[in-house]
């Protein structure tokens, strides 16, 4: 009955639209329609930035003769962009310190304060390299060294010029025990073994091992520290002295003001040097960023957003996206929604099966899981068909134009009969009175699945009910604390979760037999296989990225055969709502960039700045007036599907 009504209503609605289209009475205003029109005509720019040799560069006084490279990306920013305005955002907690190294510096907002570009930056569309603080780079004959020629126009936010001294100072600082940060001490001593200056604008950085050129660039790309700000030295009091002192930056935004515990204000650097590069044109348009501390979670943040005190709100989760569509501010078109697909960088994720646990040592039983775990139904129901199914242990591993993932690997669809056959092969050939399979020893095919996030309970409940059909019992165990410890100690049966990764994967730590019987290692599966060891060792010994990629694909196929991981999904998009005055280029996002709403700070370790959006003051005025008058715009969802998989 209800369905009938719904259909009837829909039919009526359609009829109304067809019969009298002029009835669609949406309000439009001048600035809004002008910008929407301009937006419609916009095309996705060419983001490529292949490395090119630049013969015009001559540098004397270097120990070897070098070939200098650079890349010449075009204009990427939108010509619609307007300058100025304030973007209001929140932080979930006030940072513990403004330092970016040392105790407590590893907080969520660290990138706000360490927003220096690196010598070279990663292109988030192609993962090629972009000139950053260095305009050119060259590779030493030893295969371990990169030379950088710095941009002579680069300046600190306090107006002082950037020189090679700031890099040598950074190197000295990172090695100093006084920063109380062993990780950096280790990296800059053991991994990055040397950093030298040749005159004010050239430096060389040396790693401890030979690497492929692209790899070398990735590893040697580093950011300077303002030597003048620290008086050229780091001493014992560093941690306390600089607890609440933000250093000047070479990036586009500096900390202009703050109220401890309450807010942070960042402002655009006057005449920022970075606009010298074409690819920075029409970017970093917003003048001020205000971050207010808002605690209490998403519901509270949402209220601030709808009251108009925040400019953006994430709607990643399918249910949130669906629910928020009903908000009056969205239905009346004061808030636009932006939805862009991208390719996330995802490491080994899914359900890990411990091969050290009784019957899970049998590969048939593990492969039975491929058919018994109904990932597709979970995606189609709880996740509303919006997440993308993952078939492999890695996603988005593209580097320097080379793809490292074997995209031909496909996991089968849910099939209880097929799962039953495999479980039977693994000894579980009888079905107990409760519908769960039993083996000759009387063991039930029952596995405890540990997971860490309460948000995942619903997803896993679907898997649990479906697995019953294959005679498999999943006991869900939510361990908000300690699930990762259990994993590292191999004290688990099945684990739902995952690991992060870098731009291309090194699977050695996960699958090499060296760690198969040791706890506190990343070989969670207790997996040992000489064939795998051979591949992993060959991968480590290989210097050529293309050959490395081939080995990675072989490893992925072997893991697929061994059924160590039941991959689940990845989130192929970023989306949310912004008040109408926050404008974006039509193409919204880059292929490998995740959070395109984050305009000020690079979101992850590889992300360069985004900063393509801007605030349109005229639209702001119009929208606020329309809201006062109760006039409704047509609701807008700006969507970009360029990087949608399949």
């Amino acid at each position: 009955m209800k369905k009938g009504l719904r259909t009837a209503a829909l039919a009526l609605g359609l009829a109304a639209v067809v019969a009298a289209p002029s009835f669609a009475q949406y309000y439009t205003s001048k600035a809004v329609s002008a910008d929407e029109k301009a937006m419609a005509a916009e095309v996705r720019p060419d983001f490529s930035s292949p490395q090119v040799e630049d013969k015009s560069v001559k540098v004397s006084g270097l120990p070897e003769t070098l070939t200098w490279y650079t890349s010449k990306p075009g204009v990427w920013g939108s010509s619609r962009a307007k300058q100025g305005g304030t973007f209001r955002d929140y932080i979930a907690e006030f940072p513990d310190t403004f330092r970016t190294v040392g105790p407590n510096a590893n907080h969520a907002y660290r990138t706000f304060f360490g927003s220096n570009p690196a010598t070279v930056e990663l292109n988030m569309e192609t993962r090629e390299f972009l000139p950053g603080l260095a305009t050119h780079w060259a590779f030493g004959a030893d295969g371990k060294t990169v030379y950088y020629k710095l941009n002579e126009k680069a300046k600190w936010s306090d107006g002082k010029p950037l020189t090679s001294a700031d890099f040598t100072f950074m190197y000295q600082m990172m090695r100093s025990p006084d920063i109380q940060d062993p990780w950096y001490n280790e990296f800059y001593t053991e991994q990055m073994v040397d950093l030298k200056a040749y005159g004010p604008y050239v430096i060389s950085v040396t790693m401890n091992a030979k690497m492929a050129p692209a790899d070398l660039l990735l590893n040697t790309a580093c950011s300077p520290r303002p030597a003048h700000f620290y008086g050229g030295k780091i001493d014992k009091d560093y941690v306390d002295t600089y607890q609440w002192k933000a250093e000047p930056t070479t990036g586009p935004y500096y900390l202009a003001d703050f109220v401890k515990g309450e807010s942070l204000t960042f402002k655009k650097v006057k005449n920022w040097w970075g606009h010298e590069y074409a690819y920075n044109k029409n970017r970093f348009n917003i003048e001020t960023f205000e971050y207010k501390v808002i605690t209490g979670g998403n519901d509270i943040i949402k209220n601030y957003f709808y009251k108009g005190e925040l400019d953006k709100f994430y709607m990643i989760i399918p249910q949130v996206w669906a629910d928020e569509a009903k908000a009056p501010e969205i239905q009346k078109g004061y808030i636009d929604r932006e939805y862009a697909f991208y390719v996330p960088l995802q490491g080994v994720q899914g359900i890990f099966l411990n091969t050290k646990y009784k019957f899970l040592s049998d590969v048939n039983v593990r492969r039975g899981f491929y058919y018994a775990i109904n990932i597709q139904k979970m995606i189609d129901t709880v996740l509303r068909g919006e997440y993308a199914r993952n078939h492999n242990i890695g996603v988005g591993h593209t580097f320097a134009g080379i793809d490292f993932n074997d995209k031909t690997i496909r996991k089968p669809n849910f099939d209880p009969a097929k799962a039953g056959e495999l479980f039977a092969k693994g000894g579980f050939d009888k079905i107990g009175s409760d519908g769960i399979r039993v083996n000759a020893k009387g063991e039930r095919l029952s596995v405890e699945l540990i997971y860490a996030s309460p948000n995942h309970t619903e997803r896993l409940s679907v898997l649990k009910e479906e697995a019953k059909k294959a005679g498999l019992e999943l006991n869900l165990n939510l361990m908000q604390k300690g699930s990762f410890t259990a994993l590292r100690e191999k004290n688990f049966q099945a684990y739902w979760g995952g690991m992060s990764t870098s731009v291309y994967p090194d699977y050695w730590e996960y699958f090499h037999s060296t760690n198969a019987d040791k706890t506190q290692t990343n070989n969670f599966w207790g997996y040992a296989n000489p064939e795998m060891d051979k591949l992993l060792d060959a991968f480590r010994a290989e210097g050529d990225l293309k050959k490395k990629a081939e080995l990675t694909k072989k490893i992925e196929r072997l893991v697929d055969q061994e059924a160590l991981v039941i991959p689940h999904y990845y989130v192929p998009y970023y989306r949310g709502g912004t008040w109408k005055w926050v404008r974006f280029p039509k193409w919204l996002n880059n292929k490998f960039n995740d959070d395109f709403f984050e305009a000020m700070a690079p979101y992850n370790g590889y992300g360069a700045y985004f900063g393509y959006q801007w605030i349109d003051q005229d639209i702001r005025k119009e929208v606020l007036e329309a809201q006062k008058a109760g006039k409704a715009y047509e609701p807008r969802i700006w969507m970009d599907t360029t990087n949608k998989a399949n």
């Binding site: 005679g471 939510l478 361990m479 300690g482």
Partner: protein
């Protein structure tokens, strides 16, 4: 209470009669009793398994007992029969019929409809009388099975802790001396352990099952039951009838169980309902916070947390669970109030 543990002496009779006169309490007691008993047989009313299936002339009763695979009814799968589907199939091919329970859903299974996503609103047609939660599980089923778990849990918890508390409290009061002193100190220290935090810590590290959860509750719950019993026993043991019993050579156990406990019972009985509602509330609170029983065990706490997060789009979840919880807790409170009045010593003061 209804079935007294000891012979119905005139005093107890009077108390029961008095309780029956307190209409609110008495009716609540009867209603709750019916609810509890019904909930014990909820598989017959709320279940995805059919009550009776007639297939090719043979009758099947799937409610209790082993899983019946689909192949039994000529379906093409080995896992448990989907009886709602079977009903349609049999109607079509005329090979038999299926009698489904009133609510044809279990508390665990997810009912998804093509093209629309849960939570689904209450509907008579789909027999989701109170709608579904956000993964399509029936609210009625979740409520009733959650109620059954909560009430059985709290009854078990309350009776066991009162038993332990009464025994130890009586002994403390009766023996006094060093036994009393030592136990007093132990309990004082024990009671300083923040109980809910301990449960949360244990719950976040190991996900306890029903029995272990009950055990943790009991370990930390018995001590508070001792104080009043101890005090009452102190008073009773000085009375003449105890001296008389002693003089006649009665054993400690006999004096406590036959003479002291019946007189102390007043305190226990009047405390009982409030302890039960307290236990329900704390179990619900823990489930709400995510430290309770293993998901996807049906629970009110879990429904409340779902209901709150989906209140704007699916008000029926929170409404249902809050109404159910209010009704049950109010009924228990009425019973408690009735008992307190009925057992009020100001009305019937009789020394044995």
């Amino acid at each position: 209470m209804k079935k007294p543990m000891f012979t119905l002496d005139p005093l107890t009779r009077k108390r029961i009669d008095r309780f029956k006169q307190i209409k609110r309490g008495y009716w609540s007691w009867r209603a709750l009793l019916v609810l509890v008993i019904l909930s014990l047989f909820s598989e017959l009313f709320i279940n995805s398994r059919a009550i009776v299936v007639s297939y090719e002339g043979k009758l099947y009763f799937p409610t209790y007992g082993a899983v019946i695979p689909g192949t039994t009814f000529g379906l093409d799968y080995q896992y448990e029969t989907n009886y709602r589907e079977l009903s349609k199939t049999l109607k079509a091919n005329g090979k038999g019929w299926v009698l489904m329970p009133l609510v044809p859903y279990s508390a665990y299974e997810q009912d998804f409809k093509e093209g629309v996503y849960p939570p689904y609103a209450p509907s008579l047609v789909s027999r989701h009388f109170l709608g579904t939660d956000s993964i399509g599980r029936d609210i009625v089923a979740r409520l009733v099975y959650g109620f059954r778990i909560a009430i059985l849990f709290s009854l078990a918890y309350v009776f066991i802790t009162f038993f332990i508390g009464t025994v130890i409290g009586c002994l403390m009061g009766y023996w006094g001396g060093w036994f009393d002193t030592i136990f007093q100190r132990i309990i004082e220290i024990w009671e300083q352990v923040p109980f809910l935090y301990v449960v949360m810590i244990v719950g976040s590290i190991y996900k306890p099952n029903f029995a272990i959860f009950l055990l943790i509750f009991i370990i930390f719950g018995w001590s508070s039951r001792t104080w009043r019993v101890r005090a009452m026993t102190y008073r009773e043991r000085e009375r003449d009838y105890i001296l008389a019993a002693k003089a006649m050579g009665a054993s400690t156990w006999r004096i406590i169980s036959v003479h002291i406990v019946p007189n102390v019972l007043v305190v226990i009985v009047t405390m009982l309902p409030f302890a039960i509602s307290g236990a329900i509330s704390s179990l619900t609170a823990l489930d709400y916070l995510g430290f309770g029983l293993r998901p996807p065990t049906p629970s009110w706490g879990e429904l409340i947390s779902q209901g709150i997060s989906a209140y704007k789009t699916a008000p029926w979840i929170l409404t249902s669970v809050v109404s159910a919880m209010t009704v049950i807790l109010v009924m228990i409170a009425f019973i408690g109030e009735g008992l307190r009045d009925a057992f009020d010593p100001k009305k019937f003061t009789v020394y044995k």
